[in-house]
């Protein structure tokens, strides 16, 4: 006969819904190493607590189904963006260890109340399973293969992001020194899974996943470019930088300052009142000497990657399908990790940011970078989605091309890993 009033030390069983394997693995390691197994991952049917990733494909539907089946089960919702209505416990990504732990500990307190029982559904399933408090079969082991697959290749690593990743080591962290590992791969680090490796979680303040392009050089250049095209005249942009002129006819940009300098300015907020955008007289061109001219597309793409740093412009809809008007010229634009795959997916059909992450199994920051850069150069727009209108089913992550194995080998060869 099983004991419903469990001792406080019994591990609580956590079911996670809508998360990719990497995220599950991270949680598994976190519970095992940091929480010393006071929580374990378990099958949805027998869990005490559920964590639902609201950024997953069909998350709303999964949640409804979950709530119907387990109406009394405490649930934690996680998402990149705050929900409009706030029922239930919500945690914003990237998930912070302290926040997750405190939410779980609060729930644990409720479990320790003697009157607390499982829902009928849960009880039934538990009986059927013979009900050990924690069944090894229900636990989700970490998969290291997924992790390897995520590692950046030399050919398309984004130096800006790489730099940022490196700086994570400098962040203060809450526990004793050791490896620092974020709960989710969004911050750009890979999971170090291993037997006795200490897993440390940075307690750095939450990185936001949205930004306001209008407050940066990127937005001012976009605005000036729009004006230049509308008037079909050269336009100058004055601000806390040396002269910049946009040439709409040839779709080029002239900058007096070194590019390195301008890219360094990319993250500096510049308010509109500090910027003057001026339509130049016909025939007014940049001086013949000095400065540098390049296609505005290349400049704006790179500047945006630097400014966005893995974020998306505010007001971007995570769930709206993204319509790519055509492929970006990716052989010449600054590489964004997974950029080719994202472009290939969106060229097939409009897919939302959340679905893209699921289908490609790619950390959101890369998808966000790509989205920001492609929309800055006018290649992507979001389609208005009617509620309830799911659109065409996207390429599933399971769907396999018959020559998939071969393609993988060709890619490995092209990237020089299997010479």
């Amino acid at each position: 006969m099983q004991n419903r009033a469990r001792p406080a030390t019994r591990p609580l069983r956590i079911s996670i819904i809508g998360m990719e394997q990497r995220a599950r693995d991270t949680l598994h390691l976190f519970f095992r190493n940091i929480c010393q197994d006071s929580y374990v991952l378990a099958d949805e049917a027998i869990a005490d607590i559920s964590i639902i990733d609201m950024d997953a494909v069909h998350a709303e539907r999964s949640r409804e189904e979950h709530d119907r089946k387990y109406p009394d089960r405490p649930t934690i919702l996680i998402s990149l963006l705050k929900p409009e209505t706030g029922d239930g416990t919500f945690l914003q990504k990237p998930l912070q260890s302290e926040e997750l732990l405190s939410a779980l500990e609060q729930m644990r307190a409720n479990f320790q109340k003697p009157e607390q029982t499982s829902t009928p559904d849960t009880a039934q399933k538990e009986k059927a399973k013979g009900s050990a408090p924690y069944n090894e079969e229900d636990a989700v082991p970490p998969s290291e293969t997924e992790d390897k697959a995520q590692k950046e290749t030399a050919s398309d690593a984004d130096p800006a992001l790489a730099k940022r990743t490196g700086s994570t080591a400098d962040r203060p962290h809450s526990r004793s020194s050791g490896k620092i590992i974020p709960l989710f791969p969004d911050t750009g680090q890979s999971i170090q899974s291993g037997n006795k490796e200490a897993i440390e979680i940075p307690s750095a303040k939450k990185s936001k996943s949205v930004y306001t392009p209008e407050n940066y050089l990127q937005g001012h250049i976009q605005k000036a470019y729009q004006l230049a095209r509308r008037k079909n005249r050269n336009v100058s942009i004055e601000g806390p930088w040396r002269p910049i002129i946009i040439l709409p006819e040839t779709k080029e940009i002239w900058v007096e300052q070194s590019h390195a300098h301008l890219y360094a300015l990319s993250v500096m907020p510049v308010q509109p009142e500090d910027v003057t955008i001026q339509v130049l007289d016909a025939g007014e061109f940049p001086p013949e000497q000095g400065g540098a001219i390049q296609p505005i597309e290349f400049f704006l793409w790179k500047l945006t990657v630097r400014t966005a740093r893995g974020r998306i412009p505010e007001n971007t809809d995570l769930h709206a399908p993204n319509y790519l008007s055509h492929w970006p010229n990716l052989s010449r634009l600054m590489p964004i990790h997974h950029g080719l795959r994202i472009a290939a997916l969106w060229a097939r059909q409009p897919v939302s940011l959340t679905e893209t992450a699921t289908i490609l199994n790619v950390a959101p920051k890369y998808i966000f970078s790509f989205y920001s850069a492609a929309s800055a150069i006018g290649l992507v727009r979001q389609e208005i989605k009617n509620s309830g209108d799911e659109g065409p089913p996207p390429v599933s992550s399971q769907q396999e091309h018959e020559h998939r194995g071969l393609f993988r080998k060709i890619l490995a060869r092209l990237r020089g890993r299997n010479q």
Binding site: S331, A343, I359, N361
Partner: protein, 181 residues
Amino acid sequence: MDNNYKLIFTGPVGAGKTTAIRSLSDMEPVTTDAVASDMTQNIKETTTVALDYGCMQLEGGERLHIYGTPGQERFNFMWDILAKGGIGLILLLDNTRSDPFQDMHFFLNSFREFIDSTHLAIGITQTDRSATPRIEQYHEELKSTGLKVPVFEIDARQRRDVVVLVEALLFSLAPNLKVSA
């Protein structure tokens, strides 16, 4: 085990097919450049009269055969035979030619059935010698064909450029393809 996987390069005379295949192939490509004794008109110093052939050895003993069609149109009776069983098409277009759009449509029409059953990636070469037409003009031109395909500026002499183009083709075929480390 020798599975007959093929990648096809096509495009007009001088677009860089032989050069691109050379940059991918394990061995010096077998090319039939300038062997034709009946070649009367000298468009360029050497031209491929039959086909180019290169090869990439893959893990597990498989091989990818890389074929280049001859640029000269009078040899296009070979194209169908060549394309059969191919995994996809790379079309190279020379930006310095008098009408690159006409070239593009010619090759798209010739290979349309093959493209529809596989996929296509387009590389525009010689952009260092002629900056126009611009890439977006190619996309504009492609609209009428209903093909939304990668069009990249490439220099066939740069392996990296050729590699990005082939990768784009592979991901177009299978966007959720993962590269194993």
